[in-house]
Symmetry: C2
Subunit: 105 residues, 2 copies
């Protein structure tokens, strides 16, 4: 799958998934992978970035199946950011796909 298409979109997917409920990194990698192929080394930096930008807050929780998990919780600012990214994505996607569909004819 074209790597470039994912740029920016992975951030949006992560935001939406964490919006739904708190998640830990490894879980996010799996969730996102169900939608598009993605690498661990891609998701963790996104989480770090979004946390630095105050879109996420984190806390630790022990697990019986392995090492401690770092959970991500979306902040108010994160929700706003998510909403505005969502809007932008649909605007973008619509204008691109409409153009492409028209030009296919």
């Amino acid at each position: 799958m074209n790597t470039q298409f994912k740029k920016g979109v992975l951030e949006l997917l992560v935001l939406v998934i964490v919006s739904e409920k708190d998640r830990y990194g490894y879980e996010l990698v799996e969730k996102v992978s169900e939608i598009v192929d993605v690498n661990e080394g891609t998701i963790y930096p996104i989480l770090k970035r979004l946390t630095n930008e105050n879109y996420f807050e984190t806390y630790l929780e022990e697990s019986k199946e392995g090492p401690v998990r770092k959970y991500y919780h979306i902040t108010v600012s994160g929700k706003k950011h998510c909403k505005s990214l969502l809007k932008e994505w649909f605007l973008f996607e619509n204008s691109v796909s409409n153009f492409l569909k028209e030009n296919k004819k």
Copy 2:
């Protein structure tokens, strides 16, 4: 508009526009701008790249309204590339948008 969303998509738009008929650079900048905001300095490097990869052939033609125009013509290999990128885009776009729409509920 989110810069990152455009990554890879601009190449696809350029390929589709040139598929329809031969175009020169400046014209392409205008055409693409109708779909998504874009910079001159972004389109020209794409054209150079696609030409280097033998997806385009070029020829010069004089113009009455300004300097000589460099026209881009799509090659057989370019058409193939365009088709496969189109497929990838729709696969990608569909799985992302479907997920986002479901998660909005």
